[in-house]
Amino acid sequence: MSSEPAIRERFQPAPIGLSRAHCAHCGTPLAPGQGAFCCAGCNGAHALVRGLGLDAFYRRQDTAAGTLRPPEAPPAFDAATLAVAQADGTQRLELMVSGLTCGACVWLVEQALAAEPDVLRARASLSARRLTVVWRGPAERARDLVALVARLGFRVAPWSPACLRATEDAEGQALLRALGIAAFGSMNVMLVSIAVWVGGDMGEQTRALMHWLAALIGLPTVLVAGMPFYRSAWDSLRARRGNMDLAVSLGVIATTLMSLSEAFRNGPYTWFDGATALLALLLAGRVLDRGMRRRARQAVAELLALQDGTVALLCADGTTRSVPAESIHAGDWLLVASGDRLRLDGVAVEEVVLDLGATTGESVPRRLPAGEILAAGSVNMGAGFRMRVTAALKDGSLAALGRLLERAEQGRGRFVSIADRAARFYVPIIHTVAFATFLGWWLGVGVSWQAALVPAVAALIVTCPCGLAIAVPAVQVAAVGALFRRGVLVASPTALERLASADHAVLDKTGTLSEGHPDLLPDATLDPAMLRLAASLARSSRHPLAQAVVRACPEAPALDQVVEVPGSGLRRGDVRLGSAAFCGVVEAPDSGMSLWLSLPGQPPIAFRFQDQLREDSGRVVAAIQALGLRTELLSGDAPATVEDAAEVTGIGPWQARATPADKAARIEALRGAGARPLMVGDGINDAAALAMAHVSVSPANGTDIAQAASDLVLRGEGLGALPYAIRVARRAQRLARQNIAFSLIYNVVAVPAAVLGFVTPLIAALVMASSSIIVICNALRAGKEPV
């Protein structure tokens, strides 16, 4: 929660000129000279919230500063086409809402929408960031409703099939249902079982009644609740590989059959309680494990959904229409505005300036002559231009890369997790022991086969895979949860294990070690007043260089009457900010990374930009090296820049001008040499290397294709969380090994007792519960590391 003074500050905006004030809407610290708000969008949002009588929101709000700043551009998709007409004549719209981080945000969005007269229902889900709106009226109302949510400061995207896949509702529900049934069954069987355990003086008939009661509850429970395990065991049988679920299934089924045989011959005990309790415990572990991973996957899906996938299609009549990139065919004409990312491959009829950072790793924009193929993924740094599409999305360079990634990931799918390795070695042993026990009692000692079944199955259930099956998932839940809180999203189930064993870190430069966008180079001769003036002008433009100027001087107020001359610069009266030619400078060094400010009667002033290294990159590299990983820099940028970056951060070997194929080949070579490379990258050019690496990480500002190919995504700014993630992964791995070792030691004691026939269901239950509790307590340490 925010502290008391911070709230007061927010409510009574500080007078102009006082520092340490915060924007009354989004909470960003304000610079002197700004009023109560950081931008016009926040001012509008605040007025909207107050107008609706919802100002209670500001008292309850618990969001990070700046998350609620309304986007400058309206949502680019057409919401009206997403509305689905329902059978009863209402319309329904599903959206992904980013920035929905606290209960108050949910309240605000729901109340603001419910205040619309025609809205019947608005429901936002805090965990899934999903908003469902139902209204009566035309589908076109969807645009107004989406605009309303956007004006409040939330970023909106269509709820796409990718998000749906991330939630995997049906499968999770089935697991939860199985858990409910198993928990009910085990508790009620236990009720009957305890009566048998303590009722030594119970009559024969009463005991038979109890046995059949237990069977009545236990049989359907084992049948229904065990389904997830049986299915997975069947799959593994067909693939001819033992896994942990096979051991669980065999143990549960054997115990149930033996109990049934004991009920028929009215033996001293049945073991239905053991079978059902085992299922309930394992299902609980699985539900938790899944819930944790689901949260991480949802967060990744949210990052991906926010990457706008629409393009501006040029129609025959000269107007433009915003359409999804998938609907574009080869031969269509698109308008690429200044600062836009190219979604499709194409050619332009004029010379264009593109930032190829994401496609080749070059940090300096390049001029491409007319007719040159422009690769999807690059960013337009020059004027807006018209482009003829050469390939539809499914045939373009991005799709080809996607297919390559799929192949690479299939190769990585062969990785066997430590739990399955343990199961492969362990399952045959316990089954041999159980079978030998059965034969020994039946043929050796000479008891009836039913009686011989009891110690054999007792051996199965005390060696019960329980501790072992829960050993690794429990650690995973604790570790993934701890990482999630620190902004590290773990997308793959075996990612932590692979991260822990990585011994070689390969880093990309542009966008990974560096910011990935131009920053103003500090210049001592620059007059602060001039910078302020330039920033005021630059506020009117979306161009990356203009935005870099604004970042360098965020407190500059916006000016009106600024005219943007596309491709050249900004003009306000006689004051000009823009390219060298625009400001009348003749002998300008042509790097594409400078801006000029010209005032009447004064020599023009130059602003130079560079893609700068992140502040913490040196620290991160040192921390990774301290963890024992060899580091290496692999970039598509020019040698001088790469050498410079390698020197500043202290990375050992470096390679410049690496093509995507070079990067992948280097990873392949490392793997061939027996190393386990960790690849860190953000660009389209890194994707193949990311997919082939032993384990891969991508920063929050990475391209969607890189994030999809990565095992871990860092949500925060920069790579600061990476060393922490490696430490947690290693610790988790150590704890998982401890847990497995502990379960094995437990068995060394318990198995002989079971084989000799000393184990009763009561002892088995105690063994099972105590080993599970110890394993879980040990696992909880995974998340507790002093930072």
Binding site: G53, A56, R60, C102, G103, A104, V106, W107, Q111, A114, A115, P117, D118, L120, A124, S125, L126, S127, A128, R136, D169, Q173, L176, R177, G180, I181, F184, M187, N188, L191, T206, L209, L213, I217
Partner: protein, 53 residues
């Protein structure tokens, strides 16, 4: 023995009732947004519309 005839069915029935309730909550999607549900109980505002069209 007579007590068992009464008590065992009662115990089972209560248990089944609990299970049925759980399955109902699951079916009406009450476990979909656990974080939201935790925050929602703090809001006692009624919808700001008097009547629904």
């Amino acid at each position: 023995m007579n007590a068992l005839v009464v008590l065992v069915p009662i115990a089972l029935l209560l248990g089944l009732l609990g299970l049925a309730l759980f399955l109902w909550t699951l079916r009406s999607r009450q476990y979909e947004d656990l974080d939201g549900a935790a925050a929602r109980i703090l809001f006692d505002d009624l919808p700001r519309k008097d009547s629904k069209p």
